[in-house]
């Protein structure tokens, strides 16, 4: 009896899983490749599908680096028609591999608060920088560091956690910031000093923030995160805090501007090309530019787009950033990661 029951449950599950696949015969399906942090309100996406008369198929392909590599690897038979989430660190690689086709529609012509190489439309930007646990610093009485060099001093021993640039995009961005801000040789000298001073390396942002950061039970009161994280802490807090428990620490050589864009995939289905253009325009529309601020925690790229209140109050943009030129990033990033691994881990 029990077995028969189990089988009928399994059959019901099988039926419900397979049925939608059989019915998938909608007019145009637009395949959108994104990184796993892509997040927009469901209603907004549904409205787009209705207005544009297309069926969206979002494909999440891991983090931005992994996604870019999947795109490059499958360029002979692309797995998507349009790609969102390629940023200024990964774009040179994608362009060199020739997986992107320039887009020249209205969104590409309008002025943007942050730009990318021609043909790729910027959608949003953000800053990778240091975050501190305010309560920890208040408790310990330790003064905030005023330069990256301070962090190599004994007083700041074992206080910083960073992500491995080989496996994490904020980790990569922070490495680039140190190189952009201090110069290549100086930067690696700093990393060597940091190794001696007990810098902790986590695999990715989540591990760093949720297992190493003091705010979540770890031992490190300084973490590489985003300039918008303090705002997100307020947004996702219990009784809507008025002040964020974390704060940004903008140091020279410690701020990287990450610009994310959307682009056409070379070799995508010709039938979906028009829909792909509509999707690109959609990402730069006022609605999306507003909502992405509190779903993906980035700043809108559309010049003059209004800021969400929580971002305005708790995620002030840094005055300066230290990003190396994209030509340099394209030529050297692989070698830099290898050198970093040698200096910090080996």
């Amino acid at each position: 009896m029990q077995r028969r029951h189990l089988i009928s449950v399994l059959l019901a599950l099988a039926g419900s899983t397979l049925a939608p696949a059989a019915l998938a015969a909608t007019p145009v399906t637009l395949r959108v490749l994104t990184h796993s942090s892509f997040d927009l309100p469901q209603e907004q996406l549904a409205q787009f599908e209705k207005d544009a008369g297309v069926k969206l198929r979002l494909i999440k392909a891991g983090d931005a680096g992994e996604m870019t590599n999947k795109l490059i690897l499958t360029q002979a038979r692309p797995i998507a028609d349009v790609v969102y989430g390629i940023d200024n660190t990964l774009l040179p690689r994608a362009l060199a591999a020739g997986v992107i086709e320039p887009y020249t529609g209205p969104a590409a012509q309008r002025p943007a608060a942050a730009t990318l190489d021609a043909g790729v439309v910027p959608v949003d930007y953000g800053f990778v920088t240091l975050n501190i646990d305010k309560a920890w610093f208040a408790r310990s009485g330790l003064a905030l560091p005023t330069s990256l060099d301070d962090l190599t001093q004994p007083a700041y021993r074992k206080l910083l956690v960073v992500q491995n640039p080989a496996t994490s995009s904020p980790g990569m961005a922070f490495l680039l910031a140190t190189i952009g801000g201090l110069g290549e040789e100086q930067a690696f000298a700093w990393w060597a000093a940091m190794r001696a001073n007990g810098v902790k390396v986590a695999k990715g942002w989540t591990e760093a923030y949720y297992t190493e950061f003091t705010r979540n039970g770890g031992t490190r009161p300084i973490v590489v995160s985003y300039a918008s994280s303090p705002a997100a802490e307020v947004f996702y807090s219990k009784d809507k805090l008025t002040e964020s428990p974390t704060a940004n620490l903008f140091l020279r050589g410690g701020v990287f501007r990450q610009v994310e864009g959307v682009a056409l995939v070379k070799g995508g289905q010709p039938a979906a090309r028009e829909a792909a253009g509509k999707f690109i325009e959609f990402l730069r529309s006022p609605g999306v530019q507003q909502s992405l601020q509190t779903t993906m925690w980035m700043y809108p790229a559309e010049a003059g787009a209004p800021r969400a209140e929580v971002m305005q109050r708790h995620a002030v943009e840094p005055q300066a950033h230290d990003s190396p030129s994209s030509a340099e990033v394209a030529a050297k990033s692989k070698a830099w990661v290898q050198r970093w691994t040698r200096v910090v881990l080996k």
């Binding site: 029990q2 189990l6 449950v9 399994l10 599950l13 099988a14 419900s16 899983t17 397979l18 696949a21 395949r31 796993s36 942090s37 892509f38 997040d39 198929r57 979002l58 494909i59 999440k60 392909a61 891991g62 680096g65 992994e66 590599n69 999947k70 490059i72 690897l73 499958t74 002979a76 038979r77 797995i79 491995n164 496996t167 902790k200 390396v201 986590a202 695999k203 942002w205 989540t206 591990e207 923030y209 949720y210 297992t211 979540n216 039970g217 770890g218 031992t219 994280s229 997100a232 802490e233 947004f235 996702y236 807090s237 219990k238 974390t246 925690w297 692989k334 990661v337 881990l345 080996k346």
Partner: protein, 542 residues
């Protein structure tokens, strides 16, 4: 004779299509001579100090974990199989929960105990003992995940031991200890070897917990392959590493298959009845087992449950339970796991029956060497999904079937691939200890092969089947394959949802993740209860 050869066909096709072909495709891509990459450095693994350290460390931690798991797992298995005490069934089920818990949540649990701010970690840290970034925490994490594999196998094995033989040994004057070594140990060794092989492969090729708990220094070779493929797209060097890994792990899998085959001792008998603990020694053993189980498996889980309850009652965790996303994720988890379980069970059964058919076709005579080798290879093939680096499979699949990317078929195939070896291994072991005479008797009495299978073989291997299915279900429920194999947002499962919440800052996200982890554990317990049924019934069957 012919239809027997068809048994392995389906699992063979499956393995070839979703595992072997993609990996070969990626290796072909990586090993093809290219202009800019330069010659491949085949022996770099052994020449580069850093890489060699990683390989040796991977090996060492896997071996140490196996030894510890055997040392701790065997007494626990004996207690659970031989002694009758309240909460025994629950303990058996709770034991499998670590398998379901997402890596990162498990890490949160372990850190809540042993971390610098943890219940036990804080006093230790105050005493100057820091556990973070030491291999101890990693080994602890390995045990947390893998102890259940050894214990479950041990319990099953001990339930197959012949009661009259143990009784006979005792009557002839053997001490309980001697009876164990001479009667029980030989009977359970193949089962234990099988589970230890799994543990070894899990730890050696392990990915998740090692990285979170061990820190970057203790990362395994698999991590290196992942980095090379997913982030640096250096397929050449990744392929070289993957081939070395395959040689090492494949060797282990083959060695184990040979051992299992040789140790297999068919003999079907009345199991030793469980009894209330008697005497001081048994009570002591019971308490030691309970203590070890608590310290290794239950404590981190309790830490998670405590944090989940705290989030639910005091924090903002309650909101997530009524979220539309959560309901969708719950439904996805149920249907993907259910479907994967059904397919994994079918494939696993076929694989195991294939092993038996091939064994039967390779009689011990001089000309039987080739079929025997085939049988052995097929036996070892059940380990393939654990032996091959999963990131190479994922990228290979993309290259091979770009049109199928983000298709449900590929997603389910990924689940099945990771779940079915549990069923295959479990049933292979059960069939090994099943004398051929049973089926032969039924056949002599006129039963057709299918009927023999349905009425004789299946009921006899039912407990093993249920155990394999429980592990398969646990794998499917906790699996994070979705991201490796390209997922769609509408296919978010509970596990992926947990990671999504942990991908953002803020207390509400942490609370939500913890509550969801609690929900996942409840779901898993329900699934185990459904699959394993009432244990008393099993006992009567057996």
């Amino acid at each position: 004779m012919k239809p027997r050869w068809l048994l392995p066909a389906l699992p063979l096709l499956f393995l070839a299509g979703v595992l072997v072909a993609p990996v070969l495709r990626l290796l072909a891509e990586g090993l093809a001579p290219t202009v800019d990459a330069g010659p491949l450095r085949w022996f770099e693994v052994w020449q580069d100090d850093f890489l060699r350290w990683r390989v040796l460390w991977s090996l060492a931690q896997a071996v140490i974990t196996c030894a510890l798991a055997l040392l701790l797992g065997l007494p626990i298995a004996w207690v659970l199989a031989r002694l009758d005490f309240p909460g025994r069934t629950l303990a058996l089920r709770l034991l499998m929960l670590p398998f379901v818990v997402p890596t990162l949540v498990a890490a949160l649990g372990v850190l809540a105990l042993w971390g610098p701010r943890g219940v036990l970690g804080a006093p230790l840290a105050a005493a100057g003992i820091e556990l973070m970034d030491t291999p101890w925490l990693l080994l602890y994490g390995n045990l947390f995940f893998n102890l259940c594999v050894v214990v479950r196998a041990g319990v099953d094995a001990l339930e197959q031991v012949s009661a009259p033989r143990v009784a006979a040994a005792r009557t002839l004057g053997a001490t309980p200890w001697r009876a164990f070594w001479r009667v029980e140990w030989p009977a359970i060794a193949p089962w234990l070897a099988s589970s230890l092989c799994l543990v070894f492969l899990y730890c050696f090729a392990g990915f998740g917990l090692a990285l979170v708990l061990g820190g970057q220094r203790y990362a395994t070779v698999e991590v290196e392959i992942y980095t090379l493929v997913a982030h640096e797209l250096q397929l050449g060097q990744a392929s070289v590493l993957a081939v070395w890994m395959l040689l090492l792990t494949g060797g282990v899998a083959l060695g184990h298959a040979a051992l299992e085959k040789r140790l297999a001792a068919p003999g079907r008998v009345a199991p030793v009845p469980r009894q209330r603990p008697q005497g001081r020694a048994q009570w002591a053993l019971l308490w030691v087992a309970v203590f070890v189980l608590f310290a290794v498996c239950a404590a981190p889980l309790l830490a998670i449950v405590a944090r989940a309850l705290q989030a639910l009652l005091l924090g903002q965790g309650a909101a997530v339970l009524t979220d539309a996303d959560t309901l969708d994720a719950l439904w996805n988890t149920l249907r993907f796991s259910g479907l994967a379980l059904a397919l994994a069970t079918a494939l696993g059964l076929l694989h195991a029956l294939g092993v038996r058919a091939l064994d039967a076709a390779a009689p011990a005579r001089p000309g039987g060497a080739a079929p025997a080798a085939v049988a052995l290879l097929w036996r070892a093939a059940a380990f393939l999904p654990f032996v091959v680096s999963s990131v190479t499979v994922a990228f290979g699949l993309l290259l091979l079937y770009p049109q199928a990317s983000a298709s449900l078929a590929l997603l389910i195939a990924a689940y099945v691939l990771l779940a079915y070896p549990f069923v295959a291994k479990s049933i292979t072991a059960a069939l090994d200890s099943l004398p051929a005479s049973y089926a032969q008797a039924a056949a002599t009495l006129g039963a057709r092969p299918l009927r023999v299978f349905w009425r004789v073989t299946l009921p006899l291997v039912a407990p093993a089947l249920r155990r394999g299915m429980a592990f398969a279900a646990a794998t499917a429920l906790g699996e994070f394959a979705v991201t490796l194999f390209l997922g769609r947002p509408e296919w978010t499962t509970l596990t992926t949802l947990i990671y999504q919440h942990l991908g953002r800052p803020g207390q509400a996200n942490l609370d939500a993740a913890l509550v969801l982890a609690g929900l996942l554990m409840l779901l898993a317990l329900g699934a185990f209860a459904l699959i394993e049924g009432r244990p008393r019934e099993n006992a009567r069957h057996a």
